[in-house]
Amino acid sequence: MKKLAIIPAHNEKESIIFTVEDIKKNAPDFDYVIINDCSTDNTMDICRYQGYNVLNLPINLGIGGAVQTGYLYAYRNGYDIAVQFDGDGQHKAEYLNDMAKCLIDNKLDMVIGSRFIDNAGFQSTWLRRIGIRYFTVLIKLLSGKTITDPTSGMRMCNRKTIEMFANEYPRDYPEPESTMRLIRHKRKIAEVPVEMRDRQGGVSFISPWISVYYMIKVTLAILIERVR
């Protein structure tokens, strides 16, 4: 069974080596591919120096477009399982094996690594937790399903979902929206408790002002997804 870790990277020179070595050491079953989303620092040079497997986007597509590149790569190269794995060192590779086991054993379409089942590890700021909680409630109201961590970027998909995401994936802030999409398509989703770290370097792309846009955009996207 071929498994792939998709690592979107935008200006992650401080953490990209750490991230890839984590996967190589703690989840050796997984191949990996880095998607360099037009970094303006030398992330690309570092990846090449290290001899990493990296795809180089010619224009900046944002997180959704970058991750989709990974799904397209996974689909075209015949991977059975693909997992999104942040390039900033937040995610821990040791959990990939648990997630894969859960996905295979339960014949699921997607497994989300959730910070809020065991509430262990880095829990994000309180303001963000409120935002995340809001999406949990919104998705619960619209679909009846409880997703404790709908914004988690650590998500593992089977072949069927890889194909779906390769064809159609939201452009920015894709997680809650695409989760809703899967639920609407009656795909089987489950969550697995994971711990995350605080980011190992670089800055989050979600600044205070952008989060207002984020909340509005994603709310609208989820609502539209509900009536598709």
Binding site: K13, N42, I46, C47, Y49, G51, V54, P58, T69, Q200
Partner: protein
Amino acid sequence: MMTSKFQIILIVGILLILLLILNMIRKRKLELKYSLVWLIVMIMLLFIAGSPEKLAEISKALGIYSPVNMVFFLGFVFSLIIIFVLTVTVSRLSARIRRLAQIVAMLNSYNGEPIEDDLKEKIEKEVQEIVGDKK
């Protein structure tokens, strides 16, 4: 109502714009597909300028007091239509560019090929610093 002087100016103006658009299509500066909406709007304007009586009738039927208001209203609606068509086009284009970039990324990939010596020297120190920090 419109004076016949203004009517003539209007018709000549519209005809000039029509010619300009057609000429640009001929020279392939404008794609016919996207200029269709312009052509349709211009022809409708021509019709309005050609028979103001009709315009007066229509505005009366729609319950608009003065035909001039009707002209403004129509101009606004036409502008909105054109902008909307452009928005649709931009959406489609950006989806296509996205897919194109993704395919390019797959062709423009590296997997362990040796890098240029001068770059290697430059990066080596930085990598050691980053790795050293994390240990």
